[in-house]
């Protein structure tokens, strides 16, 4: 069986209209097996999505996708914990992004998201005993670690970050608010201005990072189109595509075609380059070199 494709949770602050339109199109057209939804980065954004998230989930399910609810990456407030524990009570599969949620899932199966630190087979083994059925690995892991984990754990599906800006850090401080000289408490949701994040360049004009509220991402877009088939052969069960404003249906079609053996890598690369995302691709983490590199 070909490896699966997961569309990760939208990391950016999009309007409810854009959010709904995006996911309806994914539901109808994108060849992905699973779609993670829910706000992962900043709980202040959650109220805006409440009105449409149920209809989005139902539409995705009608489109044949498994819907997974992603939890917050760094909950610190009571209401944030309450929100995550309510997710756990929803009956849908939960993607756990912080240890605070594990106890809420006692006796149930769940997925582990890329924000929970899983660096080795012993941690996967522990999480599998607690009910984890899929573990999305942190994007900084090199191939040797990925294969070491995938080879040791046949019973847990291992997922690798394959497309999109790479989550690199999360903080209590909101860098979007700081860049706009606002405080986090009165942020005016300025993160909503930058649909793929606010580019951060070095003083000599080289694209380096991207700011998304309290999160920092890579400026480059991870692109493992040349590596996914080999990783799948060696036991990686799933690949994650992270939503951006570029044509994500085309991205999903390209990865799906390569994984099914219907498209060669050079042609696939041409299709991804034609998306004109405006930033370079990277795959350096896989080789254990600087994550920003591409080879």
């Amino acid at each position: 069986m070909a490896a699966r494709l997961t569309l990760g949770p939208l990391l950016f602050n999009w309007s409810a209209d854009r959010y709904r339109d995006f996911y309806y199109r994914i539901a109808d057209e994108a060849p992905v097996d699973r779609v993670c939804i829910g706000e992962v980065i900043c709980s202040k954004r959650q109220p805006f999505l409440q009105e449409c998230i149920v209809s989005v989930a139902e539409r995705l399910e009608r489109g044949g996708k498994q819907v997974v609810l992603s939890s917050l990456a760094l909950p610190t407030l009571e209401r944030e914990i309450r929100h995550d524990w309510e997710l756990a009570g929803s009956g849908r599969i939960i993607e756990v992004n912080d240890a605070s949620l594990i106890a809420a899932l006692k006796g149930r199966t769940f997925h582990v998201g890329p924000f929970l630190n899983v660096y080795n087979e012993a941690t996967v083994e522990y999480l599998a005993r607690r009910g984890a059925r899929l573990v999305a690995l942190p994007p900084e892991l090199p191939t040797s670690s990925i294969l070491g984990i995938a080879g040791a754990r046949g019973d847990v599906e291992i997922e690798v970050w394959a497309f999109g800006r790479i989550p690199l850090a999360i903080s209590a401080r909101c860098y979007h608010a700081r860049a706009h000289k606002l405080s986090k408490d009165s942020c005016q949701f300025v993160c909503g201005n930058d649909l793929d994040g606010l580019a951060v360049e070095t003083l000599d004009d080289r694209g380096f990072l991207a700011i998304n509220g309290v999160q920092t991402l890579s400026y480059t877009y991870a692109n493992l189109i040349r590596e996914v088939a080999d990783l799948a052969d060696k036991g990686v069960g799933s690949f994650r595509l992270s939503p951006h404003t570029c044509d994500m249906v085309a991205v999903a079609q390209t990865f799906s075609s390569v994984l099914r053996g219907n498209l060669d890598c050079d042609e696939a690369m041409v299709r991804l380059e034609e998306l004109r995302i405006g930033a370079p691709f990277s795959n350096g983490f896989l080789r254990g070199s600087a994550g920003a590199d591409y080879a």
């Binding site: 605070s100 660096y119 994007p139 401080r173 986090k184 360049e201 600087a290």
Partner: protein
């Protein structure tokens, strides 16, 4: 409150045997340190302890009524868990007073193999809420958690009211602006990360270049800062650099400031914090001695009900900006 009347346990860094003895002599209640390999998060050249040095250090500390906490707080590499397991086994055998761990798999190993060994949860685990801490306490018997530097004092107060273990907070030294253990900025620029290699913005990847009368500091292939001739040059730690966005240029993440929470000791005491952690295993013996003496004097003054010694730490942060970090909510 400790049995000796001190309001806090002072937990001090030691990167070398000499700094270790200096910290104990200066009045540290506890010293934290690591083995000289990638099992600890300060895996710098020339730093840390051989097995023999660790044994000697533990004997010296115990003879002087101080404790030793061994940091084994990187995330074990897949397929090579043995190095980390051996570190935990050796710490138990040497009768270390606690190990400081972050990885879930390693916590499970230590709890199962060494049930008598006291476990502290490293800041690298980024347990930022009582529910996270509960998980580590209930699953692995963690006795103390080192809180991430993302929490305000009211949040720390709430945590202490809710959890069944002690808390330890950073009060002085380097300041991570990102949640610790959740940051891959360093490996994005260099391939070397805190979580996997125990290094951040490593010196091996730093270069300085003078051009047009300005000094440019780089990490890997990325310019981190550029200053005019004669201006002070801060070490190019990635998150303290100057960068550009469409909104302007500057210290996008944080100024090159270090954490200084000495004026918050009474509030941290009210918040129920057990231990104060001083950052800086990479710092000199003289620095360690000076900071430890100053904090010990402050804690002793608090125990007597005396005001904080005003000269406390004067000079240690001179020329460098200091911040109270996330303890005050305005930082965010």
């Amino acid at each position: 409150m400790r049995s000796d009347g001190a309001p806090f346990e002072i937990v001090c860094p030691a990167g070398t045997p000499a700094a270790f003895r200096t910290a104990v002599d200066a009045g540290a209640h506890s010293v934290y340190c690591g083995f000289s390999d990638e099992t600890n998060a300060r895996n710098f050249p020339g730093l840390n302890f051989s097995r023999a040095e660790m044994c000697e250090g533990i004997a010296y500390a115990h003879a002087n009524d101080a404790k030793v906490l061994i940091a084994i707080n990187t995330f074990p590499r897949a397929g090579n868990l043995e190095l980390w397991h051996r570190a935990v086994d050796d710490a138990a055998r040497m009768r270390a007073d606690a190990v400081i761990l972050a990885d879930i798999g390693l916590l499970a190993y230590a709890a199962e193999r060494h049930p008598q060994l006291r476990i502290h949860l490293s800041v690298q685990a980024a347990a930022a809420h009582a529910r996270s801490i509960d998980f580590y306490v209930e699953e692995f018997g963690v006795r103390r958690v080192v809180l991430p530097r993302v929490l305000s004092i009211p949040e720390i107060t709430q945590i202490n009211a809710a959890v069944a273990c002690e808390t330890e907070v950073f009060v002085f030294g380097g300041l991570c602006v990102m949640a610790e253990g959740r940051c891959s900025l360093s490996s994005y620029a260099t391939g070397k990360s805190p979580n996997m290699h125990g290094v951040c913005s490593p010196a091996s990847h730093v270069t300085y270049r003078e051009e047009d009368g300005e000094l440019t500091s780089r990490l890997g292939e990325f310019t981190i800062n550029r200053v005019g001739r004669g201006a002070p040059v801060a070490y190019p730690t990635l998150c303290k650099g100057r960068f550009k966005t469409a909104l302007g240029c500057g210290h996008i993440f944080e100024e090159p400031a270090s954490l200084d929470a000495r004026h918050l000791l009474p509030q941290l005491n009210d918040a129920g914090v057990t231990a104060l952690k001083i950052e800086g295993r990479q710092r000199s013996r003289a620095y360690t001695g000076m900071v430890v003496r100053a904090f010990r004097a402050a804690v002793d003054a608090m125990a007597r009900g005396d005001p904080m010694p005003e000269e406390l730490l004067v000079g240690l942060t001179e020329g460098q900006q200091a911040t109270s970090g996330a303890y005050l909510k305005t930082w965010r």
